[in-house]
Symmetry: C2
Subunit: 571 residues, 2 copies
């Protein structure tokens, strides 16, 4: 990964430059933090010409290695006002790695029009794409694949991103169906891409090969061990819940501990859970001839994805995941998979985050704009986003804006971003992550759900330490491009990651170097946010979560300010 | 002023307590700052039960003294997120002074329903007022005056405050017509009052007299000198522009220097200015049998108010002022006084700030929701506030929310609050005040327009010092209850204010003590905001004002960060 692609949207020019030494050891989320700290004023308007959008694959991108092709996308977030990285599976990250591109840096703002960035081994060019303006992500992707070839990886924004809505994400094609089934969803990065005048990135890796590795023997041994451990694990192997069910495997446990967002985060268990849980989803898909156990990126041995189909076997959406099922299912009291799948498809097509939209719809339903449980009502509300009406723009700007306009106190957000599918009153470690992570409320920034059997989810004591440890793991994943599902072998033995990195780059790192890199990433993001105007006063959840008990566990969020402050203090 | 009235809305109880020594020397805005710092968590939800609403007359309230009856109202602002004070002329401040009430402290939140607080020399009580829920301020005020007597002073919120809209203010009756013609408009304090479940405060001062003064001779001499200087001044006397024209006297000069907000702050001079300026307003009112040169509060010798009437001589609104004429006139390119007066009346009736609404409408017009210059279009948009529609709630939440939803970069706000009628690119001292004052963008927090002849309004050098001096004067006015128009004799000789205060209270203050009290006020507000999460990164205007030149002077806002940081550093 030897080059950085500089895309100057104001001049509509593209430049390939070598990677300077300051950036060499940074990848993915870590590259984003270093680059933004060095190059933008953290006080800038996130949707203005001074923000920079970065697409950076992880350090292990492009290699014949399972589960390491996630692509980090980052910028100053128009949703949180702080630094943001959202990463996405699918094919573009891997293909960028094969093209030897360490990062795409998109700066400025096109004076008018909207463009496609086309990349191949022969170079990069910006192509006017006025005819695709305001098209949905499905149609845009289909047209681009038809034009450039079905082997390409494609990243696109929908009308939401073009309208500058703060809930807009960036969609990526996945390996199982060539559709925009994955999204770098959180933090409004689609709106940043739209503000630049960039509609899509097409990554054509024809004629490329995997990047060379420095120490072939070390890399081969480590990668084999990594794949073997994933395949043989009872969780990630073929008989494991991740392969069989995908992310929704977690729904039962989350409901059991009383943390499943229900009726706009007013309850922690959902009566209709059996209609939308892991077993029901698998059974429905298999009965109808859909697909289970698919991979989103090449080489993945876990294969957690699915293709959800209607009664006639026609695909509705891929891949239907836990966060969407929680935020657009239980949170809206919709216990019908077909309805949730349709809502998910609409979000994908408009190019908006289904977590943010589920939370916004929950707030809107509580305010009376539709009834809880009314799938058709939810669809009608979502349709407004496509129309660009004031109502649609309100929802598309996310839960906080929706709560602000409608005057609803129970608005589940931290740092401007909607809670994912874990109520922090029943899983307190997550509340600490939501409040302290530079990423805001995010299910991948340091999620405590995996610790529920070893640490009482209701106990506020020690949640600072817990969250810090989880945030470090998240940092490691996001700089290397590793999927969260593939973390167990690395968490069990961090030296395995060190071997992979040393094999690839010959850095001679130790485990301490890896930990320091994680901490450095968290420090850089914190530093950016301090310069953007964040203080410990922002490390909070909305007041109502400290006051209102959550049935059935009846706890409030009672993590002390001291515990909260301890989380990232000594990094 | 010996008592503080504690109104506990959760229990719906009222308690009168003596003033403790810590609060003794604080009045108005200064009382608010001290009390909020001591009693609330600055991180609290401004519309939640932990915020406290304070109504505090200035230190000179209730006395037979010109122009000193302004009432300060304050709380943590739901609009800015920081501490906020907005003060209002009219009759209630004076009457509270006569009742010996130093402050009304409203805490908690009524579990349901909406209440009237009735005050008289016989005590205070909360009265259920469910039948007035969602009524406009004109009708509510009329009913209350009918019930309690036309001699009462009344403070009310309209439907906007009850809906929790962040542009909502608190209206006060004025002396000239017993209608809600004055408003503590800025910062969303009406929404705070609504969140508590308080619809109105009725101040019945029957049977009271002016508070006793400590040193009668000193007070008499100082107050005579003060009145004499006001009467004899070429500006505030009977031949002066303030009496003859009121606040709109400033429109010509603001237009001349190119700082008059025009077409959503995209220009600084308005072609139609002659149709809405001071001369035109005076001429129109006099021709139609309206009134000019009225007083809003008892005893005022300046008498700057007016009653604007329609062609049949029927009152539309009192008092039609500069800020409204700028924000709803030139800023919307509406050059018709009748149309502006109608928009003003609608704002008054809903109980929303006409500055904030004018700015929000400007943004909405630029986004295409109505045409610039279209008074009927503007009226239709404002009507939505009364309906409580999503569109109305967006506008009612102010310019920043409107710009956020509609995706408009040119959104004229600082710290979440709309700019008043002075574009900061052509009056740079005001930009410094907008950005650095705890009050946010506010025409009374330190307005540089009066310095235009002695300091080049386009010159960024020295604007920190300039703004600091003006912010100190504003602090003095707002703690004593003095009207901005009556400041010249005090600014010329601060010892005159010291004599008034020593006459009233016997404190034995010097001018240095007065200056220290001003600085202490600014420090307290700054301290509150730091605890609420503000940093120097927030001392900024929106990025576009640094980039986009303003015709015809073609300047950008080029005050350096260092100059900005110098403003309140050494207080």
């Amino acid at each position: 990964m030897s080059t950085i692609l500089h895309v100057h949207m104001t001049e509509r020019s593209v430049q390939q430059l070598d990677v300077d030494s300051r950036l060499e050891k940074h990848g993915g989320r870590s590259f984003i933090a270093r680059y933004l700290l060095d190059h933008i004023d953290p006080r800038c308007n996130a949707l203005g010409p001074k923000n920079i959008l970065i697409l950076a694959p992880g350090l292990l991108a492009g290699l014949p290695l399972s589960s390491t092709g996630r692509l980090s996308i980052g910028a100053k977030s128009p949703l949180t006002g702080g630094i943001k990285e959202a990463n996405v599976g699918g094919t573009p990250g891997d293909k960028l790695g094969r093209l030897g591109i360490k990062a795409i840096v998109v700066s400025g703002k096109a004076p008018e029009g909207i463009y496609i960035l086309h990349l191949s081994k022969d170079g990069a060019e910006l192509v006017d794409s006025g005819e695709m303006a305001k098209l949905g992500t499905y149609e845009t992707t289909a047209r681009l694949l038809e034009k450039y070839g079905g082997h390409c990886g494609v990243l696109v924004i929908g009308p939401a991103g073009e309208m500058g809505l703060r809930g807009a994400g960036i969609s990526a094609t996945e390996d199982l169906e060539n559709v925009p089934g994955r999204m770098a969803a959180r933090g409004g990065l689609g709106a940043v891409m739209g503000s630049k005048g960039l509609k899509a990135v097409v990554v054509d890796d024809a004629g490329t090969s995997a990047p060379a590795v420095c120490d072939e023997e070390l890399f081969r041994q480590a990668s084999r061990r990594f794949a073997k451990e994933l395949i043989e694990s009872p969780k990630t192997g073929k008989e494991g819940s991740m392969h069989r069910f995908g992310t929704v495997a977690i729904m039962g446990p989350v409901n059991d501990i009383g943390a499943l967002p229900t009726r706009n985060f007013s309850r922690g268990q959902f009566e209709g859970v059996a209609n939308i849980n892991a077993e029901k989803l698998r059974e429905t898909i298999l009965e109808r001839g859909g697909k289970i156990g698919q991979r989103c990126m090449p080489g993945c041995v876990i294969q957690c994805s699915n293709i959800y189909v209607d009664e006639q076997g026609v695909p509705i959406v891929s891949t239907l995941q836990y966060e969407t099922l929680a935020l657009m299912g239980s949170n809206l009291e919709i216990d019908n998979l077909d309805e949730i799948a349709m809502l998910n498809r609409m979000c994908n097509d408009f190019g908006v985050d289904s977590i943010e939209m589920g939370a916004a719809l929950g707030v809107a339903m509580e305010a009376g704009l539709a009834e809880f449980g009314d799938g058709e009502g939810a669809r009608k509300l979502l349709e407004e986003i496509g129309k660009g009406s004031v109502l649609g723009r309100m929802l598309g700007n996310g839960a906080e804006t929706t709560g602000r306009i409608l005057g609803m106190e129970r608005t589940p957000v931290a740092r401007g971003q909607a809670f994912p599918g874990y109520d922090p009153r029943a899983l307190k470690g997550n509340g600490v992550t939501y409040a302290t992570s530079a990423m805001g409320a995010d299910h991948t920034a340091g999620n405590a759900i995996g610790t529920r059997n070893t640490k009482d989810p209701l106990d506020p004591e020690g949640t600072g330490d817990l969250s810090r440890g989880l945030q470090r793991v998240a940092a490691m994943l996001d700089m290397t491009g590793l999927c969260l599902f593939a973390r167990p072998p690395i968490v069990a033995d961090p030296d395995l990651m060190v071997q992979l990195l040393n094999g690839r780059y010959g850095w001679g790192w130790t485990v301490e170097d890896l930990v320091e890199a994680e901490d450095e990433l968290l420090r850089m993001e914190r530093e950016f946010n301090v310069m953007a105007g964040f203080t410990p006063a922002h490390d909070r959840l909305p007041e109502i979560f400290y006051r209102e008990p959550l049935p059935p566990t009846e706890g409030v969020f009672d993590v002390t300010d001291e515990e909260m402050a301890s989380t990232l203090k000594d990094l």
